[in-house]
Amino acid sequence: MNSLSAISSSGDWLPVVFIGLMGLAVLAYAILDGYDLGVGILLPMGEQDEWQRDTMIASIGPFWDANETWLVLAIGLLLIAFPAAHSLILMHLYIPVAIMLIGLIMRGVAFDFRAKAAVDHKLAWDRTFKIGSLVTTLTQGYMLGQYVMGFDQSLPALLFCGISALGVTAAYSYIGAAWLVLKTESSLQTRAVRWTRAAGRASLVGVVAVCLINPLVNPGVFDRWFTFPLVMFVLLIPTLCFLGFVANDILLRRLPKEADRHCGVPFAIVVGIFTLCFSGLGFSFFPDIVPGQLSIWEAASARESLQFILVGAVVVVPMILMYTAFSYRVFRGKATDLHYH
């Protein structure tokens, strides 16, 4: 495989470690902030839905801030390890990044304002939360599309970006809804099961569309995937992914079960699907950090800087994972009303 030979020939494994770390951060972000963005998108806006909104937001309350930090880590690692790629990508995505940031700002503050503002403003902040979440996911999907398309602004490319924007939004709704199946009870849980099924089907359409178009427009990607005998092995990824979608759909038809059995399974399956899709994407482009333009070795920053941060990362990342696990343990079980104390 040419990427492996590239590693051995350059003799420099640090950029590989950092692309791995960055991949971990992006995946953690997509899963973790994914579910809280999804919850935001799904927020029902009817007048009688207020208690459901409260519970839904309570289910993400203790986590959203740390979830968003994975985005800061991912962009930080890009900046630290691959400064040239950081500049290139963010310059191309100047306006969508600005819009996404405004979406993130709006939803972040709405979360706090809704609990503290006057009662008559609460609905307005709930709307802000929903719209902010939607703006964030749409722009993220658009940016993913642009990234895959090599920042092409032609009409077909933009069309692909549109599909990608909707696909990412559907995927976030999918994981958000599955999170709610896990964290809520009674009528809200029933509703969440319905949402999960619908969002799952929409995500499947999105994933299939992206999987078909990506190799067709990127010849490199096509060669990477459809080279015998590797094809037999790597096709496991889409196969497993597809099975995941189907199994989840069948399971969801039977939920909620007695004594709330299996309420966490849909979320686990969606996490699996996210991981598979992400590995597929990574497999398509590795070792390029900007597809077709820049490899991780060309973009990497100086060795002594990477070593300095790696020492910290090796010590600190396990600690982060540990106290994150602790936090999820503290807040395990069904979401209840939020009380600030």
Binding site: G61, P62, F63, D65, A66, E68, T69, L71, V72, L73, I75, G76, L79, I80, A81, P83, A84, H86, S87, I89, L90, M91, Y94, I95, V97, A98, I99, L101, I102, L104, I105, M106, G108, V109, F111, D112, F113, K116, A117, A118, S301, A302, E304, S305, F308, I309, G312, A313, V316, V317, I320, Y323, T324, S327, V330, F331, L338, H339, Y340, H341
Partner: protein, 459 residues
């Protein structure tokens, strides 16, 4: 017409100015919260818990604004200042990385437990979470100020192939201006939070709040401010001496010294004029500037004439510095008067009104100080290594103009909502919440309502 450079500078200044308002409060407010909660754990006096409960809500709101406005910052380098990362990314990247790794995750995760976990973890673990969040916010200040100070006074590096490489990380982090700037900023945060707490508590009392908690918070704020203000004057002076040593052109602009001078006066007021390179309407105390900066009444201060073409604009530094110092002195005076008045059974209403007016005084002083130090670095982005003009993005001005407009609209709305919500929360706490005018018994109920014994923990 504004070009991309000027628009990008305005946008960065807008973003960072808006952002810094919130951490300036939360860094110290979290230590105050930890103090409240610890006092509750140690004494069992529920008034501490009530003070904690009110202020933790304010903290959560302020923290959220800090987080979201901070995420914007992490993208700014790439979107608007690609030259910065290309040139000094090897230094800036790891320092920012350590901030994310050691501070952001820590504070964000334990904030969840601090805000929502009191029923789910033992009280001591909860207090510990507050401590961890406080440590996290302070660590965050540590790393970001290390980077900022390095940009002011770079050390521990070499330039290879036109790119900066680190040679000694300890020298990079503990560069000459870092210890002074860090302590100066942490004290600024302490003062800002102290006046913020005192101001909002005074507002509650003025609106007829009879409870103990706001009085306790008022006292905490005033005493804290009275202690920190003179410390800040002392540290500020040391910071100034350090700047005089490493960035004399900044001091010359701050003091309005156009020509090298021995026995320079301390100008209380003047209007510096870049055209004529002189001051109008100068009112000063003879020899005092030399005395402060060199500890000799006839000491020499290098004038702007020795830095011609390579010194920052004079007016913003000259006035910014006077606003910061003036506000600092005012804060010190008010804090001391306040501590004197605390001995009376009731703090006079007039003084409470003064405190309400001073609620955001720390913001004014902090922003003025930051404008002095950041504008004072110009025309350099990284002193002696990279100019601001060389780092800017090639993106079209229209794009920067659009993003700047969007940010400005959002920030105005958010600032309005923030202040409005603070007011609402203060008013709500006056009329709703628990009623306790008498000092409650240490083992009594928390709220004087049924089902809320301390033993039950927690509401």
């Amino acid at each position: 017409m504004l070009d991309t450079l000027m628009l990008s500078r305005i946008q960065f200044a807008t973003n960072i100015s808006f952002h810094i308002l919130f951490p300036t409060i939360t860094i110290a407010l979290c230590w105050i919260l930890f103090f409240f909660k610890l006092r509750f754990d140690l004494t069992g006096n529920p008034v501490w818990m009530r003070a904690y409960r009110f202020w933790v809500k304010i903290f959560a709101l302020t923290f959220a604004l800090g987080v979201v406005s901070g995420i914007t910052m992490s993208f700014q380098f790439g979107t608007n200042w690609p030259g910065y990362m290309e040139k000094v990314g090897n230094i800036a990247g790891p320092l920012l990385g350590y901030e994310v790794l050691t501070a952001f995750f820590l504070e964000a995760t334990f904030l969840g437990i601090m805000l929502f976990g009191i029923k789910r973890v033992p009280s001591r673990v909860h207090t510990f979470s507050a401590l961890v969040v406080a440590i996290g916010t302070t660590l965050s200040a540590f790393w970001i100020l290390a980077l900022n100070s390095w940009m002011q006074t770079p050390a521990g590096y070499e330039i290879r192939d036109g790119v900066v490489h680190a040679t000694n990380w300890l020298q990079v982090i503990f560069n000459p201006s870092f210890p002074y700037r860090l302590v100066h900023m942490l004290l600024a945060s302490g003062l800002t939070a102290a006046f913020f707490v005192a101001g909002l508590s005074a507002y509650r009392i003025l609106k007829g709040d009879e409870k103990q908690a706001p009085r306790l918070a008022l006292k905490t704020g005033l005493i804290l401010a009275a202690v920190l203000a003179p410390l800040q004057a002392f540290v500020g002076d040391l910071h100034g001496l350090n700047t005089f040593e490493h960035q004399p052109q900044k001091i010359a602009a701050m003091e309005g010294v156009w020509e090298t001078e021995q026995g320079a006066p301390l100008l209380l007021f003047a209007i510096p004029d870049e055209e004529t390179r002189s001051n109008h309407l100068a009112v000063g105390i003879p020899k005092l500037a030399s005395l402060i900066l060199t500890h000799h009444s006839d000491g020499e201060i290098r004038g702007l004439n020795t830095f011609e073409g390579d010194h920052p604009p004079v007016k913003p530094l000259f006035f910014g510095f006077r606003i910061m110092v003036g506000m600092g002195l005012l804060m010190m005076a008010i804090a001391w008067v306040g501590c004197y008045l605390l001995r009376k059974p009731q703090v006079p209403r007039t003084f409470l009104k003064v405190l309400v007016a001073m609620t955001f005084s720390g913001w004014v002083a902090t922003l003025a100080g930051w404008y002095v130090t950041e504008v004072g670095r110009q025309p350099w982005l990284v002193t002696g290594i990279l100019t601001t003009a060389d780092a800017v993005t090639p993106v079209a001005p229209a794009n920067v103009g659009l993003s700047l407009t969007l940010y400005l609209i959002v920030y105005v709305i958010l600032m309005w909502a923030y202040i409005h919500t603070l007011k609402r929360m203060a008013l709500k706490s006056v009329y709703v919440e628990e009623f306790e005018t008498n000092e409650p018994a240490p083992d009594g109920s928390l709220t004087n309502l049924p089902e809320s014994k301390i033993a039950g923990g927690t509401r």
